[in-house]
Structures are given as structure tokens and as C-alpha cells.
């Protein structure tokens, strides 16, 4: 991916987000969300350079926003981001065993991506689904009442789906 490509893409997204919002001063976080979605779960560092030009804000300021929020990543992440809730309700209802089985079945630790580029494992603050704890979020979909077996099944199903090429 060349700097030119990032420049053009970011510029397009910037104009798009700008046209959607009534307020103009504040859209950096929205733009970063859109860039991340475009590149599939990460933001290339070059984007910060481009945004500096477009917004007129200092690079340091853009970079600090980009790195402050845990949902933004400058590293390439998997197609499926698994966010495991690590809050107390999940902890007291068996979250540790669920997490362990996830790590086992994926063969990765927090912050890592599987070799096939499919999964990235992250921890999340409370997902607000405490009634069905333990819980995890895979991209935008939530899974509740987890057990080590259920976790294995969910991951297997996604892998199977990917193998058979279903989108």
C-alpha cells in the first residue's frame, strides 16, 4: 500500500464524513472510525500525516487521539476481532475458564492475531450484557452464556464458514 493510496482514501473518507456531519470542528474520531472500517480493523500510520494536512491540526494531536482509544489500532488486525469482557460479573460467573479455552483454541494471547489473519483477541471493558455473562463480542455480534465448549464451537463455526468461502 503506497502513501498515495492512503492519501487518496483518507481524503475521500474525510470529505464524506465532513459532508455527513452538521458540526465540522469535532469529527476526528468519526473519521478515524471510518478509516479503520475501510482498512478492515486498523488505521495505517500514514493516515495521521494525511489528516494533519486536511485538518490543519498538529501531527502530535492526531497521533495522541489515535493511540489514546483502545478501539483504534495502528497494527493490522484479524478479520474477526474478539473482545472478551473482563468485568467482574463475567469474572464471577466463569469468565477465566472461557478466556482460557479461547486462548487455547486460537493459540494466541491478548493483543495477538492468528497466523491465518482471521482472529485478533482483545479484552474489553463491560459489554453491558451481564445478565448472560460470561460474554464476548465478535466484531459487532455478542455471544452470551459462554462455556469453554460453547466458545470452541463458535470459533469452529466461523472457521468452517471461512473455509467454505461463505461471506
Amino acid at each position: 500500500m503506497s502513501f498515495e493510496e492512503v492519501k487518496n482514501t483518507v481524503k475521500k473518507i474525510y470529505e464524506q464524513v465532513k459532508s455527513e456531519n452538521l458540526e465540522e470542528r469535532d469529527n476526528l474520531i468519526n473519521i478515524l472510525h471510518a478509516i479503520q472500517e475501510h482498512y478492515g480493523n486498523y488505521i495505517p500510520l500514514e493516515a495521521a500525516e494525511v489528516l494533519k494536512e486536511l485538518t490543519g491540526r498538529p501531527l502530535s494531536e492526531i497521533y495522541e487521539v489515535l493511540t489514546f482509544y483502545t478501539m483504534f489500532s495502528t497494527d493490522k488486525r484479524g478479520k474477526y476481532i474478539i473482545r472478551v469482557c473482563k468485568s467482574l460479573p463475567c469474572h464471577v460467573t466463569g469468565g477465566a475458564a472461557v478466556l482460557k479455552s479461547l486462548k487455547d483454541v486460537l493459540g494466541i494471547d491478548y493483543g495477538q492475531t492468528t497466523e491465518d489473519g482471521l482472529f485478533t483477541l482483545e479484552e474489553s471493558s463491560c459489554l453491558g450484557l451481564c445478565g448472560v455473562s460470561p460474554v464476548m463480542l465478535i466484531n459487532d455480534e455478542a455471544y452470551g452464556n459462554l462455556t469453554p465448549e460453547k466458545v470452541r464451537k463458535i470459533i469452529e463455526e466461523i472457521k468452517e464458514k471461512e473455509r467454505s468461502g461463505v461471506k
Partner: protein
């Protein structure tokens, strides 16, 4: 077109969806089609019905039969039996702890009956995607009343009369806050809804946004009219995609109907709301950090004063309330402040939504009058602790709160009584813990959270909580000293006094509160190197009683780390070096031969 004979209301709250609601709904609809019932049976998805542990849930009207724990298979049977043959399918009805079967638990169980629903009045009743259904439940009547009949001062007067206090945690009187924002002089003012619900164990704001988004749109518009704002923002966590989707949809339809946008209800009052999405930072729940984040900056708190009512978003006067607070506004306007204040007790008026989670039979959301006791909440409404275990404590207020030990469960829940007990109501999360939970471990757990979520701006919070966590780790690893306990307390008190924002000022609470009530547990960890709840890994071992073990190999097969050895029909043994204390073997042993010991 034939008349509708049955309406099936299916809960599409976040918890039910994660428990499989979508496949249930799809199966239900295809089965209805198969039997050509799809024109006479209407399926409606609503917001959260509250009883998350029973999900996925649906209720068949006109009878009101309540089916629970559904899946794509059993819903077919319900169509065939209930709808085609008129026979209630007993096996999928609610079954109580004593085996009693109830067709309409929503009318019989204390979990539903003891509730007084104001903020959550429409949850599980209306289709969140339908503005018509919201209007049919008196939706936007309060806005109409305010614009046509009430002066801003009258709105504030009613709010003051109601005694409503902020439901986000700090409990500041809402009427007063609105008055400050109204009195602030500026030609530009903002209204913000704080939907960055981050306290672990609290999920009422999520449920309201997902189940009744229009109530928040209406209340924010009332707020704008009252204080003189033309622009509003709602800041929602990125972790709540469904809430974002449904709220955005509500904004669109409200604009179409003329409740939002230019010239609302044909008057010269104009107001619009934009959605801002967070990006995973707990600290953004703090109002000034949230404002910074909306401005497109790092979400770090500002020094207060000035308060947002004077200098908020882009330094303009800003009114900021949380979701649940807003949800109370339309009913207060419609029925009056006096009506609202009849619920609850002195100093804590109205109702509060609590989220029951952890070791309690009925998990979910309940809205009850303030002043209810913890005993009623946990035992009558919550159905007690599962597995006949003993209640140990309830954690309230998340990482900013503390715990209430079992001996205080008859205390009425109010802002003031909880303060006396060393905790807060916070946003209403109640995490129930039983005898198997170690309070030092719980305190450590919250500190891990705080250390990770500290924004790093001020030293007491950034470094102080880290040092506290190190001490706690030493204690749970069996390396703590008595001096550590003193240090922990002293450090906690300093952090509370010197941190910049509310989060830092309350971060040591879970530690100090557990030290206050469970000092003996801390001492056991330090002096005897023992974890009384047998939870702390380094202080606990799992052992097999050779006398009781029959050598069935069940434990060895289930052990994820192969720590158990032994041959068939001979007693087995656990290698403590390999064992991770996951407890899987404990669950499968049918001979009671496996137990935890400490030390």
C-alpha cells in the same frame, strides 16, 4: 387482509440476542409461514424485558403466555401446539426453583410484580423501531405539553419538585442542573446525553437506548427547549452497536414527524441531535472527558470548576445528563413532580433501575422505588443466590463504589445510606457475590480495571493505583506483609484526596471498602498465607481424596492441562505444579472426592 388473532412479542434486547433471539425469530417466522399463519399472527420485536437469565423470551397475546429459554427448535413446537391446537406447551414455560410451573410469570413473580416502571416503562412493550408505538404510549405528549403550555421555568420547577437526582453516579439534583444551564448567559448552548455507560455490571442505559430510544430523543428536546439550546449530542460507547443503530433510527423518524429538526411542532423552536461514538475509553464516562472526546480530542477530564453548565462543549454552557435520567423526564412532565416524588424516600425520590448480575438467580434489569432493601432486591426479586450458597456481599457502583456485606442487607437503598456504608448507588449495577468469592481478589480485580483505564493525566491515579495493585498482587500471591496492609490503606486515602477527577477520587473505594468489612480475609492472606474463599490460585490447591476416589477417570479426561494422573479403578492424583485451579474436575466428580484446600 384477515384480522390479526395473535401477537407474539419477542424480546430483542441485547442479552436475548446474544442468547440466540435472531435464530428463534427466523424459525418462528418460517414456521408461521409454513402453516399459513403469517397473516393472522403478528411478530413484534421489543426492547429488553428485563429477565435476562430466561432469554430468549417471547409472550403470546391475547392470553399473555410467557415462553422462555427458546431456541429455533422448540419455537416450532410452540407454533404447532399453542397456535394451531390451542394447547399451552408446558415444558417451555417458566419453572421456578421449587419446580412450580407458571404460565404468566410476568403477572405472578415478585421479579416483575414488585417493579415500578417509570424510566423503563416502554421496555418490552413497544417496538423500538416504531415511533407510532411510542406515540401510542403517550410518547412526545410531554414535549408537546412543554412547547405549548409550559414555560422553561415551570419545567425546572416540576423537576425540582420531583426530587430527581442524576442517575449516572454522582446523584446531583437534576432540576438544579437544568436551572444552572438555563441561567448561564450565551447565545450558543448544548445538550448532551451521556451514554458512555462503562461501570462493569450496569446495563440499564444500554437497554433503554435499545428498547425505547424515543424517550431519550424526547427528553433531550425538552431539555433543549428549557435551557435554550439548539444543538444536542449523544455520546454512545462503541461497544453498544445495537444501541447506536436503534437510536440513529429514532432520530430519523423523529425528524420525519417534526419532533426534531427545524421548527419543531410548527413553532420557531429548532433543535437537532447528532450521534458521537466512543472508541473504548472508560474515562469518557466522566462528563468533562466526554466533552473533550466529542471535541475530537483525547478523553481526559478537565479541572472543575468551571462546571459544564458554565463552560462545557467548546466552552459554551452545556447540560449533560445520562440516559436513565433523561428517560424519567417525559413521565415527570406529564404527571407532575409531585407524582414522581411519591415514590421513594426523603432525599432519594422516584425509582431506580438496578442491574442484577453475578451470583443471583434472576439476573437482569429491575426498576424499583428508592428505599427498597437489599434483601428484597436480592432475595424476593432476584430469587436468591444459586446453588444454595451463602450470600457474601454485593458490589455497588462499579469501580467507583464499594461492597455491602451480608450483615447490612436490611439497609434501605438510598443515596445517603449507601454513602454511610462506604459505597454509592452509582449507575445501579449490583454484582452479587457468594461464599466462593474472595474479597481481596475482587478488590484486585477492580484495581486492574482502574490501572488500565486511568487516562494518565494526574499522578495519584496513574501511579498510585498501580502501586496499590502491586501490593494487592503480593497479597494474593501469598507474599504480602502486615506493613503492606497499612501502606495499601494510606495510599488509597491519598489517591482519594489528590486525584483530579471523580474516577481517580473513587478508584481506591473497592479496596478500602473490602478492607473495612473483610479485614479478616486480608489478614488471613497476609498472616496465615491462606485464602478463606479458596479462590486465590497461589494460596489454594485442588486435591483428590484417595479414600473416596474410585478411579472413574472423569476428572483426568476433563482436565485441560493434563495435571491429573492415575489408572482406571485406581485413585487419581493432581500435580499441583501443573494444575491451573480451573475447577473443571470438581464439577465432574460424582463421588465428592475432589476438593479445594487452603493452604
Amino acid at each position: 387482509m384477515p384480522a390479526v388473532e395473535n401477537t407474539i412479542v419477542i424480546c430483542a434486547g441485547g442479552a436475548c440476542i446474544s442468547a440466540g433471539e435472531i435464530s428463534v425469530k427466523e424459525s418462528l417466522e418460517s414456521t408461521l409461514k409454513e402453516y399459513a399463519l403469517d397473516e393472522v399472527v403478528q411478530v413484534v420485536e421489543t426492547g429488553c424485558m428485563g429477565a435476562c437469565d430466561l432469554g430468549p423470551i417471547m409472550v403470546i397475546y391475547p392470553e399473555g403466555i410467557f415462553y422462555q429459554k427458546l431456541n429455533s427448535e422448540n419455537v416450532k413446537k410452540i407454533v404447532e401446539e399453542h397456535l394451531l391446537k390451542g394447547r399451552v406447551v408446558k415444558e417451555f414455560l417458566y419453572t421456578g426453583p421449587a419446580g412450580e410451573v407458571k404460565e404468566k410469570p410476568q403477572e405472578e413473580l415478585p421479579f416483575f410484580k414488585k417493579q415500578v416502571k417509570i424510566a423503563t416503562r416502554n421496555l418490552g412493550v413497544v417496538d423500538p423501531l416504531s415511533i407510532e408505538e411510542y406515540i401510542a404510549r403517550d410518547g412526545y405528549f410531554a414535549l408537546t405539553k412543554v412547547i405549548k403550555e409550559l414555560s422553561p421555568d415551570k419545567v425546572i420547577e416540576e423537576l425540582k419538585k420531583s426530587g430527581l437526582r442524576g442517575r449516572g453516579g454522582a446523584g446531583f439534583p437534576t432540576g438544579l442542573k437544568w436551572e444552572f444551564a438555563k441561567k448561564a448567559e450565551s447565545n450558543v448552548k448544548y445538550v448532551i446525553c451521556n451514554a458512555d455507560e462503562g461501570d462493569p455490571g450496569a446495563f440499564m442505559d444500554r437497554a433503554i437506548l435499545e428498547g425505547d430510544p424515543h424517550t431519550v430523543v424526547e427528553a433531550m428536546t425538552i431539555a433543549a427547549y428549557t435551557i435554550g439550546a439548539t444543538k444536542g449530542f449523544i455520546y454512545v460507547r462503541a461497544e453498544y452497536p445495537l444501541a447506536i443503530e436503534r437510536f440513529s433510527h429514532a432520530l430519523e423518524t423523529a425528524r420525519e414527524y417534526g419532533f426534531l429538526g427545524n421548527n419543531i411542532l410548527g413553532t420557531d423552536f429548532s433543535f437537532d441531535i447528532e450521534v458521537r461514538i466512543g472508541a473504548g475509553a472508560f474515562v469518557c464516562g466522566e462528563e468533562t472527558a466526554l466533552i473533550n472526546s466529542i471535541e475530537g480530542k483525547r478523553g481526559i477530564p478537565r479541572v472543575k470548576p468551571p462546571y459544564p453548565a458554565q463552560k462545557g462543549l467548546w466552552n459554551k454552557p452545556t447540560l449533560i445528563n445520562n440516559v436513565e435520567t433523561y428517560a424519567n423526564i417525559p413521565p415527570i412532565i406529564l404527571h407532575g413532580g409531585d407524582w414522581f416524588s411519591q415514590f421513594g424516600v426523603e432525599g432519594s425520590r422516584g425509582t431506580k433501575v438496578f442491574a442484577l448480575a453475578g451470583k443471583v438467580n434472576n439476573t437482569g434489569l429491575v426498576e424499583v422505588p428508592m428505599g427498597i432493601t437489599l434483601r428484597e432486591l436480592i432475595y424476593e426479586i432476584g430469587g436468591g443466590v444459586p446453588g444454595g450458597k451463602k450470600l457474601k456481599a454485593v458490589q455497588t457502583g462499579g469501580p467507583s463504589g464499594g461492597c455491602i456485606p451480608e450483615k447490612h442487607i436490611d439497609t434501605p437503598i438510598t443515596y445517603d445510606t449507601l454513602k454511610e456504608l462506604g459505597t454509592i448507588i452509582g449507575s445501579g449495577g449490583m454484582i452479587v457475590m457468594d461464599e466462593d468469592d474472595c474479597m481481596v481478589d475482587v478488590a484486585k480485580f477492580f484495581l486492574e480495571f482502574t490501572v488500565e483505564e486511568s487516562c494518565g493525566q494526574c499522578t495519584p491515579c496513574r501511579d498510585g493505583t498501580k502501586r496499590m495493585l502491586e501490593i494487592l498482587e503480593r497479597i494474593t500471591d501469598g507474599e504480602g506483609t502486615e506493613e503492606d496492609l497499612e501502606k495499601l490503606k494510606e495510599l488509597g486515602e491519598h489517591i482519594m484526596k489528590t486525584s483530579l477527577c471523580g474516577l481517580g477520587q473513587t478508584a481506591p473505594q473497592p479496596v478500602l471498602s473490602t478492607m473495612r468489612y473483610f479485614w479478616d480475609e486480608y489478614e488471613a492472606h497476609v498472616k496465615e498465607k491462606r485464602c478463606p474463599a479458596k479462590k486465590c490460585k497461589e494460596l489454594t490447591r485442588i486435591v483428590i481424596d484417595k479414600e473416596k476416589c474410585v478411579g472413574c477417570t472423569a476428572c483426568a479426561r476433563v482436565c485441560p492441562v493434563d495435571a491429573i494422573s492415575g489408572s482406571v479403578r485406581n485413585p487419581h492424583e493432581i500435580d499441583s505444579e501443573i494444575c491451573t485451579r480451573c475447577g473443571s474436575c470438581l464439577e465432574v466428580c460424582r463421588f465428592g472426592a475432589i476438593s479445594k484446600v487452603s493452604p
